[in-house]
């Protein structure tokens, strides 16, 4: 039995009726209206509880929660820089490990968590992430993916999807906007052969919280990739942000899955997907796209989902399915 499988043998799932009441991330922070990144972070923190040390990368979540002398954090929280959240968390974990072994502190099953945006994960922090995953530290890494550098003013990252307008991938006579395909960091994380990788989004809060809890429960490195629509950066009405997250799943743009001990498992099998047009239409970052462009994106999404299904077919008996929502 694999590491994760063994650790999850008696896993107690959350359900809509059985949600944790704890709020390690306090309200009163400075996030934008409709921010699903902070919503996702709140869900992650609720799921993990308050026996956790959070190492945050520079980014929206860092600045909105920590303008001195205020803090929204009810758990220990450490911000060092942009690209090193995984390295910092691996240091905290190693420090604890040594101090526990040497009898200087008690082992109280504290969870070590790193959190960063897509820029801090897919671009500038990829090396530190890879290093920490490869070294096998007992920590979970949460990437809150809003598909661009939002904190610095909506510049493209390698996690920005094809066709999206950002301030550094502007559409123009010679440009469709972002010209490259979104980097698949969850698959990169899985390629490190770590015990647990999952994708989630805050439109499916119970699924997200269960995955966060699993990631925290499993010994060794765990990676959670959370799709988090950004109203400000996507030019999306704040009341539509959760809907956008849900549509990303329903159109297969962002599939929800887990990789447990190398077994790829679909969390929600989208049997009859909605057309991607429904996902794209309310986001003004895509408004310059032509019908042909949208057709291209549909083909990309179909092909990617097909590859995911192949992976799942190759490694497991099939979809587990999502029953709770």
């Amino acid at each position: 039995m694999g590491t994760a499988t063994a650790a999850l043998k008696d896993f107690q799932k959350y359900s809509m009726k059985k949600l944790p009441r704890v709020e390690p991330l306090a309200p009163g922070h400075r996030a934008c209206q409709g921010c699903t990144e902070v919503l996702a972070l709140r869900q992650v923190m609720k799921a993990i509880g308050d026996n956790v040390i959070v190492c945050s990368a520079t980014g929206c979540m860092e600045i909105i929660t920590s303008p001195w002398p205020q803090t929204a954090w009810r758990t220990p929280w450490l911000h060092v820089a942009f690209e090193n959240a995984a390295a910092v968390a691996s240091g905290v974990e190693s420090g604890y490990k040594a101090l526990i072994r040497k009898g200087r502190i008690k082992d109280e099953n504290t969870v070590f968590m790193a959190v960063a945006g897509d820029g801090g994960t897919a671009d500038i922090g990829l090396q530190a992430l890879s290093g920490a995953l490869e070294r096998g530290h007992n920590f979970l890494y949460v990437c809150l993916d809003n598909e661009a550098y939002m904190n610095t003013g909506i510049q493209r990252s390698s996690s920005t999807p094809y066709g999206a307008m950002t301030t550094t991938s502007p559409p123009g006579k010679q440009s469709i906007g972002q010209a490259t395909l979104k980097k698949d960091v969850a698959a990169i994380a899985a390629a490190h052969n770590i015990p647990y990788v999952a994708t989630a989004c805050p439109a499916y809060p119970v699924d997200l919280m269960n995955k966060a809890k699993k990631a925290a429960t499993i010994p060794g490195p765990a990676y959670l990739h959370v799709f988090s629509p950004c109203c400000t950066g996507w030019r999306l009405a704040p009341e539509r942000s959760v809907e956008a997250a849900r549509l990303a799943v329903e159109t297969r743009v962002f599939p929800l899955y887990e990789v447990i001990d190398g077994n790829w498992i679909l969390s929600k099998d989208v049997k009859s997907p909605k057309p991607v047009q429904e996902y794209l239409q309310h986001q003004r970052r895509f408004r310059h796209l032509t019908e042909d462009d949208i057709k291209t994106i549909q083909e990309q999404v179909d092909a990617k989902y097909e590859r995911l299904l192949q992976r799942i077919g190759q490694t497991s008996s099939g979809a587990e399915g999502s029953s709770e929502e």
């Binding site: 911000h79 060092v80 530190a128 290093g131």
Partner: protein
């Protein structure tokens, strides 16, 4: 009782790290630092040092891990050189502002390019403005001793600052020297276990590394400035008590035959020993020459530097780094600025020497001592020269 053994300085330093019972070592290999961390990983592998050895994927992560581990309450050691310092320097700044008492050894090496693994003081200067305490050793014994002093100072609750202990790459780091290895009982007497002032603990949550808006940033930097300045009495006390324990007393500025000298050469690092040899030769010929060696680089020992140099007529400051397009090397610029407001001051000239492993010989020091005198009477506006340049 301590024991004198013939040992490579890097190995001796790693033994000191073991004797200091460090909890976490995070390091990335770079020549000429490698022997330190290789030996440390052996000590951990053999169970002689109970520590987590984190073989990080870069120096940037070495410093990031060090910060995480120190914030968790661990005693942390890391080591680097030149390019490694350059890669981690972003995080080096943050370690001091978080007031984490990390100790880092630097086997000093030139910055690329052209790429050079050999010794100069590029990396010391790169770390100069980071808010770390920095000392520079002249020889292996001093480097070994520095390790205990560094933790003693850095972890003092009145200091709580990270500290870099420097030694010249190869010319100190790779040399086999007779070194007095301290008895563990003496180490334990001098260096108590790390008593953290605060740490990341879910039972007592703290927020570390928050955003500093313009209303607080200046005050935060002022606080760091005051902390670095205020560390000096603890640095001195640490050396005094180390001297009482071992008989080896250290000072921020070491002077050799400066009392009656009309000419003083100022050095930092291992070339001080060559300078003293040169001074012996010049004294034998009747020249009143002395050497002042800077051991404490940050906080800069203003009083001791002035006291050492104020009675000389001619001062030649030897820098092993150059600020391109500026007014010479950082050490000379700083000393010249220190004397500007003094009522009397010596003539100060700057020699740039020993870049990227170029030897600085006894003859070079003799020439510098003679040149600084003739330059003083030449009415030249020249501030510095790069010596030993091949045609």
């Amino acid at each position: 009782m301590s024991e004198r053994v013939g040992i490579e300085v890097s190995i001796a330093l790693a033994e000191a790290v073991k004797q200091a019972n460090v909890d976490v070592v995070a390091a990335y290999p770079i020549t000429p630092q490698t022997h330190i961390v290789e030996h440390l990983s052996e000590l951990v592998a053999d169970g002689e040092l109970d520590a987590e050895f984190i073989p990080v994927e870069s120096e940037h992560s070495a410093m990031s891990c060090s910060i995480g581990a120190a914030a968790a309450g661990a005693r942390v050691f890391t080591a680097t050189s030149s390019q490694g310092m350059a890669l981690m320097v972003e995080i080096v700044f943050i370690a001091s502002s978080l007031r984490l008492p990390i100790v880092m050894a630097m086997a000093n090496r030139a910055m690329s390019g052209p790429i050079s693994i050999w010794n100069d003081h590029s990396d010391i200067m790169l770390a100069r403005d980071t808010g770390w305490i920095q000392t520079v050793a002249e020889n292996g014994q001093e480097m070994y001793d520095s390790l205990f002093h560094a933790y003693r100072v850095a972890e003092d609750h009145g200091v709580l600052l990270p500290m870099i202990i420097n030694m010249d790459g190869f010319t100190v780091s790779h040399v086999i020297e007779p070194i007095e290895i301290l008895d563990q009982k003496d180490v334990d007497k001098y260096l108590k276990p790390y008593d953290w002032a605060q740490r990341l603990d879910p039972k007592n949550p703290i927020t570390m590394g928050p955003v500093g808006m313009p209303e607080v940033y200046t005050e935060a930097r002022m606080a760091l400035e005051e902390a670095v300045k205020a560390s000096k009495p603890t640095i001195l006390k640490g050396w005094k008590e180390f001297g009482d324990l071992t008989g080896r007393y250290y000072n921020p500025v070491e002077t050799y035959l400066t009392e009656d000298a009309d000419t003083i050469l100022v050095t930092m690092g291992s070339i001080g020993e060559t300078a003293m040899t040169a001074v012996d030769g010049m004294r034998a010929k009747g020249h009143k020459v002395g050497v002042a060696r800077i051991r404490l680089y940050r906080p800069f020992p203003n009083e001791e530097v002035v006291a050492a140099l104020k009675n000389a007529k001619y001062v030649g400051v030897v820098d092993r780094y150059l600020s391109f397009g500026g007014n010479g090397g950082p050490l000379a610029t700083e000393i010249r600025s220190l004397f500007y407001n003094q009522s009397s001051r010596p003539f100060i000239f700057n020699f740039i020497a020993g870049l990227g492993g170029r030897d600085v010989t006894v003859e070079n020091f003799e020439e510098m001592a003679s040149d600084v005198k003739s330059l003083a009477s030449s009415n030249s506006s020249e501030l510095y020269q790069i010596i030993n340049v091949r045609e």
